[in-house]
Symmetry: C2
């Protein structure tokens, strides 16, 4: 046991769980562009958001000034149920790669939701409860967010209505049943329960749904029912704020052992995990206290950062949500059907988009077969079966470690392992059978999405 | 955070992981009865077991004398990948039950195999590798053991051949794919690959298989192929030895905080988890140093302890394995098809059987709908989705805590939470839909099993 000074798994004490979230926007010189009212094209006021989100979450959404926000005791109590999450030194992976690099990963999958999504779900449920609401509505695709939210709502005794993309509802019955076990109602979307659902079903009778449509249904139900609000698992500033717990814990653990990462890697769909993981490191970078190489990894089949436009766009397909300035493929973009995991959102967090635009982080895209090769290699040596989403980060971490092998550099690499792949075995089966294929959209494929981005003065690209 | 002196989750340091397994047989006045050669009815000699098991595991199987056995460094290294496992104070459950009881559970599900099975899988794979073998064979039903073994074999570069009960192979494709991701070959049993498989298929063309048949196939393949041995995930003395890591860690953690359990509860199928959890506590009891109430929980539909016979019986349906003295329902017993989880083995660990026979532990049986009610309640407050097997222990822990509520006693209850239920969502779905039913075999139902127990002098019951 003496070979390693640093343990395999660095568990902080429960008393070391951060008691404040960190708001990276406070340290940004160029703030993320505000949400716009799609009718007036004016920045949205808090009151305009109250019918959709609870008031305290609106305040967090719009708060670009306070660097730290106290985590309420009730949320801290819940965090202690599954946090601190371990920071793991990937000794086995390092050995398998024969690399001088030191690899660390922050593992967020050790809870029943199977991912980091619970960190924000419990916060959003708490504020809904505090405001005296009856329940919340949301959409879910693969089901990680819906599962996390159902757990959080069960804890606070809130009703939870989940609109689940129909194809996932049918193909992922296990996720659906986890949500039901936690007491959530799960409706396949599009449904006949909403106006927007009925409209879509009328226009496209056989449709298997999309995330954008499910968002529109969930928002409609929240705004039309007394005592309900809509909640979202990524993209929003408030979500990145809650997810800062990931990065804060990571930094506390690394500081404790005197370790400083050279490269920080995270997968990026809407940005919730990446934004959370990097936040305290980005803060140091913004304040000129330290420098880090930060890499966002996205699928080649849904390349918002690497091939998207930096523009104001709708957050949903139904175009009922506010306009957000972000790297986007257009709200009408639909990733290829052969796409195995999550990370299929057309847009990206406004905060991360601004940081990327300002050159404070990099982005790269990877193809899914190479992602699953990395996932399999990682699973076999590190003993954790990673989610396809998380495996995008593993791919690039392995690639960077192999570069270190060539150059002989002993770089310290940190990546976010956001979740487990227990509910993604159909994708693994395709990979195991050799039937998984890659897809890179051509410029022609991307054009319809870009054409749908609203054109108005200041929104040129 | 000051309300609780003891943290929610007690994580030991990696340096506190035990470096020796504890062999409870060394402290038993009446040793478990030896395995018998079914032909001669004589106790089996080590050499007779060498064609089936590796030599070092045979030595462990037959060792009734050494109280402690060193855990090899290579196994300790692997343990550090996912151990120590947390000992959790169930504050949320206590609150929900409004009980003065203090409830603790040792959670073994935080690894990709999803259960405690990995503790023995890695040991058995290590000794196979050390003996220079090419690979191992095994059977799996629900798939927890097969998954654990495939992970362990992948780590040591051993070939892993899993015979999976056909009905599970078809109904649990996800478990199968996890095993394949770790490089195991998975064959539905009965198969055309073995003599015994061909015989069974000829006699019962449409059969969906059974654990007993899969054992027979795996043993045949191990004994007929150079460089292969058979491994088993429960029942055997060697498995209980490896699983003692669960109890040793639990005791270390409890001692650290000055906590002493009054009641220790574990689910019991073949006995691997229960035997491991209770071992150091049972040791104290056997040595007269302390007293504990120890409760084995089994399903009412497969009641080996509570309604079985204490007799020599076959470990497999094909009757190719040695005879073991144990509480048994007969090797031909097949639990009802509506049975949702594991814990469907007809027999029980010889060691636990002897301890039960000597009055050193109790046993109780519970019905599955009440088990799933407990599982749901637990999931909603403690945030972990438990395996159906583990939930048997939860059921009785809740019942004991509710008794404390009536009497006002502040008893300390410890139970083993052996694993997670992510791959058991079909059972949860039945429960969520209200279509789950109970089954208690009549005496008439049990008779054919009992009749098949071999009759010879000294084996009367």
């Amino acid at each position: 046991m003496s070979e390693n000074k640093i343990p395999y798994k660095i568990y902080l004490d429960e008393s070391e769980i951060p008691t404040k979230w960190y708001n990276v926007r406070a340290d940004m010189k160029t703030k993320p562009a505000p949400l716009l009212n799609p009718g007036t094209l004016e920045p949205l006021k808090a009151e305009e958001l109250y019918p959709i989100f609870c008031e305290e979450l609106v305040a967090q959404e719009l708060n670009n000034d306070d660097a730290f926000i106290e985590i309420p005791d009730e949320i801290q109590n819940f965090y202690r149920m599954y946090r601190p999450s371990p920071l793991i030194r990937a000794y086995f992976l390092e050995k398998a790669l024969d690399t001088p690099a030191k690899i660390y990963y922050k593992f967020e999958g050790n809870n029943t939701s199977g991912s980091h999504k619970l960190n924000s779900a419990i916060a959003q449920a708490y504020y809904a409860k505090k405001q005296g609401l009856k329940g919340v509505t949301t959409e879910t695709g693969a089901g990680q967010w819906g599962t996390a939210l159902s757990m959080a709502c069960s804890y606070f005794g809130l009703d939870c209505k989940v609109y689940m993309v129909k194809v996932s509802y049918e193909q992922k019955p296990f996720r659906r049943e986890v949500m039901r076990t936690y007491g959530a109602s799960v409706t396949p979307s599009p449904s006949m329960e909403t106006e927007v659902g009925r409209k879509i079903l009328e226009a496209h009778p056989g449709t298997t749904g999309s995330l954008g449509c499910a968002i529109s249904e969930a928002v409609e139900v929240a705004t039309k029912n007394d005592g309900y609000r809509y909640v979202l698992g990524s993209v929003l500033n408030q979500v990145l704020l809650h997810q800062s717990i990931i990065g804060l814990e990571t930094k506390t653990a690394m500081d404790k052992y005197g370790v400083k990462p050279d490269i920080i890697i995270g997968c990026a769909g809407g940005g919730s995990n990446l934004g959370g993981l990097i936040s305290p490191f980005m803060g140091e970078k913004l304040r000129g206290e330290a420098d880090y190489r930060i890499i966002a990894v996205e699928p080649a089949s849904c390349p918002s950062f690497t091939r998207g436009k930096f523009a104001y766009d709708f957050c949903d397909t139904g175009m009922v949500c506010p306009l957000a300035k972000m790297y986007t493929l257009g709200s009408g973009f639909i990733p290829s059907a052969n796409h195995a995991g999550g990370l299929r959102y057309h847009g990206m967090s406004s905060t991360l988009s601004q940081l990327y635009h300002d050159g404070l982080m990099e982005a790269t895209s990877v193809e899914q077969t190479s992602v699953f090769r990395a996932a399999q290699q990682f699973a076999r040596v590190e003993g954790i079966l990673p989610a396809p989403e998380s495996s995008h980060a593993i791919r690039v971490a392995i690639d960077e470690a192999l570069k270190c092998k060539e150059t002989g550099e002993e770089k310290t690499i940190l990546f976010g392992l956001t979740g487990t792949g227990y509910f993604d075995m159909v994708a693994y089966e395709n990979f195991n059978n050799g039937t998984m294929t890659d897809y890179i959209p051509t410029d022609e494929d991307l054009k319809p999405g870009f054409d749908a981005i609203p054109k108005f003065p200041g929104n040129e690209f």
